[in-house]
């Protein structure tokens, strides 16, 4: 693995994959959260889009990726959107559950004291949703990792997925494992250096 890192293109491939992961993750979290919160708050919207969400939730990743590539071409934005599309519905579902359990009494308080729309979102609604947000983010990163590799394998000429496919054709188990290990290290680093401090900060008000 060290050899690959120093002499091969592991770092380059890992970097490009990470960028894709970051792009798809951000897209899926932001759009998915917005949709989920909207569905949780407005019941009518929920009734209208519930079945669509179920369809999207159960669409096989392979199908959505291929359709996206066929419809929009083998390019970078398509790859990222295809990945995001696979995470988006589950983020929306998680955040919708959160938005359904919002504390009505605090919303009433905000209304009595005439807090503005954005102030309510920022100070009353979003803080209540942080546990759901973290749950969605953790599972989301895991799923997106996996799907980015598939997307790379199918339609990109760089990145970890592409590299693994090449090693697969050579039956080069050592290098596949090296890539996998590199992967695991990065994920652990994100858990320890990213989520945990962030979660600690978000929960600072708890007893």
């Amino acid at each position: 693995m060290l050899h690959l890192a120093l002499h091969g293109d592991l770092l380059a491939n890992l970097g490009i994959t990470l960028l894709r992961v970051a792009g798809a993750f951000t897209l899926a979290m932001v759009v998915g959260s917005a949709i989920g919160i909207a569905l949780g708050i407005w019941r009518r919207l929920d009734l209208a889009f519930d079945s669509w969400l179920t369809v999207l939730l159960n669409l096989p990743a392979l199908v959505s990726i291929m359709l996206m590539y066929v419809w929009f071409g083998l390019n970078e934005p398509t790859a990222i959107i295809a990945v995001a599309l696979n995470k988006l519905p589950s983020t929306a579902v998680t955040l919708r559950e959160g938005a359904r359990t919002l504390d009505r009494s605090l919303l009433e308080m905000a209304r009595c004291y005439r807090m503005g729309r954005w102030a309510v979102l920022r100070h009353v609604i979003l803080p209540q949703l942080t546990p759901y947000f973290f749950a969605a983010a953790r599972s989301g990163l895991a799923i997106i990792w996996k799907i980015v590799l598939v997307v790379e394998l199918l339609g990109r000429s760089d990145g970890v997925g592409f590299a693994i496919e090449q090693y697969f054709q050579l039956f080069d188990v050592t290098d596949i494992l090296a890539y996998t290990l590199a992967f695991i290290l990065v994920v652990q680093a994100i858990e320890w250096g990213g989520w945990q401090p962030l979660e600690h900060w978000a929960n600072r008000w708890r007893r």
Partner: protein
């Protein structure tokens, strides 16, 4: 305004009417009988009015109507200083005045500090006065604490401070001392008076506890029946208002008498 005759008498100390409440009927969806009917009264600036009545008689509903949290009723709630508000949504251009609200529970945002909880609802230019109020209520040292780190009694005090800090035209209080034992309720009432003296406003206090009414009110409205109506409107004489412990106890006993007599004769 010919309607004025329909309103109850005002306490002697009242300078100007700020609010006229006329509720012809309030019925909850699906209910056969209305909760409130033919209920009318007016509220003066700087007046503390206690609305007393048995639990479940519709006192909280009355507060929700006045606060605008519930807008489905027949009648009119008229803010005489900033224009009228009919039942249903407020007409364009007429803003009801600022209201402070003290709920049965503190209802502070747990993820914001004591000071942030106030600052989030303060109108511009009220920061210094709010800080002064926190100091006066003994909360200044806890301004950077989260609500989960202070005692429940203190959180209640913060909720009272918040209601008065926004320089409201009216503070609505919904059984603010209901879940406290006698000693802490005394303390709560003292804090409320302290806040009211620091920032004099009209206050409407809903309570089932006649001691609350006797200790705080300029005027007591008694509600009873189904649908609830005002069965008595009792101005408190100046020498009995917000008196010492013995005065309060005596007054509370007298109010209890009136309540029992009215209930027996009227229902």
């Amino acid at each position: 305004m010919g309607r004025v005759a329909a309103f109850g008498t005002l306490g002697q100390s009242v300078a100007a009417v700020i609010l006229e409440v006329l509720i012809r009927r309030k019925t909850f969806p699906g209910a056969r009988e209305p909760v409130l009917a033919d209920l009318a009264f007016a509220l003066g600036a700087h007046e503390i009015v206690a609305v007393v009545g048995p639990s479940g008689c519709g006192k909280t509903t009355l507060l929700r109507l006045i606060s605008g949290l519930d807008q489905t009723f027949e009648g009119e709630i008229t803010w005489t200083q900033s224009g009228p508000r009919q039942s249903g949504p407020a007409p364009a251009g007429v803003a009801p005045p600022r209201l402070g609200m003290v709920f049965q529970e503190p209802r502070l945002l747990p993820w914001r500090t004591v000071w942030q909880n106030l600052a989030l609802v303060l109108p511009p230019g009220q920061d210094a006065a709010a800080a002064a109020l926190l100091k006066r209520l003994g909360l200044w040292a806890e301004r950077d604490s989260y609500p989960s780190r202070i005692s429940l009694g203190m959180a209640r005090r913060v909720a009272i401070a918040r209601a008065f800090a926004i320089a409201p035209a009216l503070v609505l209080l919904d059984e603010p001392f209901a879940s406290l034992d006698a000693g802490n309720a005394d303390l709560g009432r003292a804090v409320l008076l302290e806040a009211w003296e620091a920032r004099p406003t009209a206050a409407l206090l809903v309570t089932h506890d006649l001691t609350d009414a006797a200790a705080l009110a300029d005027r007591v409205l008694m509600l009873a029946g189904r649908p609830a109506r005002i069965i008595a409107d009792i101005p408190i004489a100046a020498n009995e208002r917000r008196g010492d412990r013995a005065t309060v106890a005596q007054l509370a006993a007298r109010l209890r008498d009136i309540q029992e007599r009215s209930v027996i004769s009227g229902f």
